[in-house]
Symmetry: D3
Subunit: 139 residues, 6 copies
C-alpha cells in the first residue's frame, strides 16, 4: 500500500527504460525491485536516486561492498525504514554477510543506540581531546 500510483508500463517511458536497463546490467539480473518501479512515477527522481546509489554502492570505492551495505543497514534501522532494512539486509547477505556477522551488526547497532540514549540523557561536556579542528587528525 503506497502513497504513489506507479506506472503500469514503466518502460514505455524511455528515461525509465534507460534506468531499468542500467539496473539490470549493473546487477546482472532481470529483477527490478519495487523501489525503482514506484520511483518511476517521476523519471527525473528515479534517475537521480539510481545514479546516486549506483555510484556509491555498486561501484568499487574505498570500503568493500559488504561493509558499505552493513553501514547502510545500520542507518536504515536507526531511521526506521522498513523497506530499506529489508532490501539492504538482503544486499549485505548477497555480498557475503553471514548470520553471525548479521548478529554482530545488530549487536553494534543496538549497543550504539543504547549509549546514544544514555548520553543524550546525561549530556556530558564533549572532551576537548575530541576536537579534530584543534587536535588535527590522529590517524
Amino acid at each position: 500500500m503506497s502513497t504513489i500510483n506507479p506506472p503500469k508500463d514503466p518502460e514505455a517511458d524511455p528515461r525509465v527504460k534507460a534506468v531499468f536497463d542500467d539496473i539490470r546490467q549493473t546487477r546482472g539480473s532481470d529483477f527490478i525491485n519495487n523501489v525503482w518501479r514506484y520511483l518511476a512515477f517521476d523519471p527525473k527522481l528515479l534517475e537521480e536516486v539510481w545514479t546516486d546509489v549506483r555510484d556509491l554502492m555498486a561501484t568499487e570505492t574505498l570500503l568493500d561492498a559488504k561493509t558499505k551495505e552493513m553501514i547502510y543497514v545500520a542507518v536504515s534501522i536507526a531511521n526506521s525504514c522498513q523497506y530499506c532494512v529489508h532490501s539492504h539486509t538482503a544486499a549485505a547477505k548477497a555480498r557475503g554477510m553471514s548470520d553471525a556477522e548479521h548478529a554482530e551488526l545488530l549487536k553494534i547497532v543496538s549497543t550504539a543506540a543504547r549509549t546514544n540514549h544514555i548520553l543524550n540523557g546525561i549530556q556530558p561536556p564533549i572532551d576537548t581531546v575530541f576536537d579534530m579542528e584543534k587536535a588535527g587528525n590522529p590517524a
Copy 2:
C-alpha cells in the same frame, strides 16, 4: 552542562575505581573521557555500560575494530548524539580510518538517510524476495 552532578572524587568508590582501572588497562592510556566520569554517578550503570561496550568494541570479534567504530558512528549520527559522534569518530580515526574513509562513511550515511526518507514517503510494498523467513539466507 550536564543533567548529572558527577562525583568530584569518583575513584573513592571502589566499584568506580575498578572500572576506571579496567578502562586504563584495556586502552593502555591514563585518559578517562567524560562519559565514564559522569556515569560514575551510578556505579552499577557505569559497570554495565562499560562491560557492554568493552566486550563488543575493545575485544576481538568477527568484524575488525575500524569497521565496528564506523558502524557505531553511523548509528550515532542517525540518532543525533553529539557526544557519541565525537567520541566514536575519534575512536575510528585512532583505529585507522583515513580522511577519505571518513568522507566515504559520511557519503554512505547520508545517501542511506536520503533513500530512507524517500521510501518512508512512498511506502512501496516490500518485495517478497526479501523475506528471509521464506527464502532462507542467500549467503
Copy 3:
C-alpha cells in the same frame, strides 16, 4: 492491528458524536477515517487532537492549505509515521498537490535528510551570522 480496542459504536457517546459531526461538517464528507475511530476510545483525547488539527489544518491561516499539508507530510516522513504519511499525502493531493510537486517534496525532504546526517556527522560550529538574537530578524 492496533494497540487500542476501539468502541464498536463510537457515536453512542455524545462527546464522540459531536466530534464526528464536526469532522463531517468541516470536511463536507461522511467519511470518518481510522485515526478518529480509534481515538474514540478516549473522548477527551479525541476532542483535543481533532480541535488542534482542525484549527490549524482546516482553517484559513497564513500559509495555504496545500503547503501546510506538504510540511505535515515532511515531518511525518522524518518521524517514520506510516499512517500519517498516508493520510496527509492523500490530504495534500486532495488540496491540489500534483505528482510533480509530490516528487519535488520527496526531493526536498530527502536532500534535507542527507545534509542533516552529514552535518550531524561533521558538527561544524554554527556561524554567528545565524544568531537571530544578535542579528535581529533579516526579513
Copy 4:
C-alpha cells in the same frame, strides 16, 4: 544562540504578561525559563504551548507528577531535544526523582532503545495476541 529574536520587554504585551503571571502563580516562583521568554515572540503560540503543558504537567491527573516528568524526559531523550532533556530532568528532580531513580530511568530508556533497534533490524511478525482490537483489553 537561537533562531528567534525574543522581545526585549516581553511583558509589555498584555497577552505575554498574562501567561508569565500564570506561570509564576502556577509554579509559585518568579523564575521564567528561556522556553517561555523565546516563545513570547509569538503570543498565540506561547499561550497554546503553555496551556497545553500546564493542563497536563502542572495539574493533578491520573499519573503522579514525578512519573509524568520521567516519561517526558524519556521522549525528549529519544527525540534528541537538549533543552527539553535539561528542563524536564530538572523538573523530575524537583518532583522527587532521586539519583538512583534517574539512573534507572536512563537504564530503561537505553534498554528500550537497544531492543527498538534490534527489532527494527529483524522485523519479526507482530504476535496476533498483541492485537487489542481482537483480544480486547486484558487489563
Copy 5:
C-alpha cells in the same frame, strides 16, 4: 516478513532451550512471543537481550513494573518500533495500565514530542539553573 530466517526447532539448541525455559518460568506462561523465536537465530544475542530485559523489567527495582513498561512504550513510540510498541503496550496493560492511563501516556508522549520539535526549532539557550553539575541535585 522478517530479515531473519528463524530456526524451525529452536529448542534443539540447548542454549536456546535454557533461555526459553527461563522465559516460561519468569512469566509463568508457556507462550514465547516472536522476538525470542527470531532472536534464536543467534543464541548469544538471544541470551544477552533476554538477560538484559529480564533483569530490568521482570525483576523488582525502584520503579514499579507498570511505570517501567509505560516508559518503555514511550521510547518505543518515539523510535517508531512497531513490534516494541505492541509488545510493551500489552505488557503495560497486563501490569494494570487502564485505558484512561493509556490515553494519558499517549497525551504525555505527544505533548513532549510537540515541545521537543518546537524547541529544536527555536534552540533557546539552556538556562544555567538546569546545570546540575553546578547546581547540585535539587532533589
Copy 6:
C-alpha cells in the same frame, strides 16, 4: 568543535575554489558559511553536496524558494540537526518568511510531531482509501 580538521587555506585546492566561486556567484555574496568550509576537507563530497543543494534550493523549480526552505527547516527539526535548523531558518527568513509565518511553521511541525507520536502509539490500520495504487491519484 568539529569531527573534521578543515583545511586552513581551502581555496588552494582548485576544486574547492571552483565550488566556493560558484557559491559566491549563485548567492551574490562573498560570505561562505561553515558547512562548505568544513566539507572542503573532501573536495568530491563538497562538490556533490553543493551541486545537489544548489540545483534544488537555488534554482527555480515548481515550489517557490520560501516554501522549499520551510520544508527543509521542518525536516531538519525532526532530524534534530542544530546547524541545519539555524542555516535554513536564516535562509527562509532571507526569502521572506515573516515571524508570524515562522510561528505557523513551528505550529505545523509540532502538531505533526504530536499526531505522529499518537498514531505510532495506537497503530490503527491504514484506511484503504489512502492506497494511491488502487485509488489512483485524486488530484
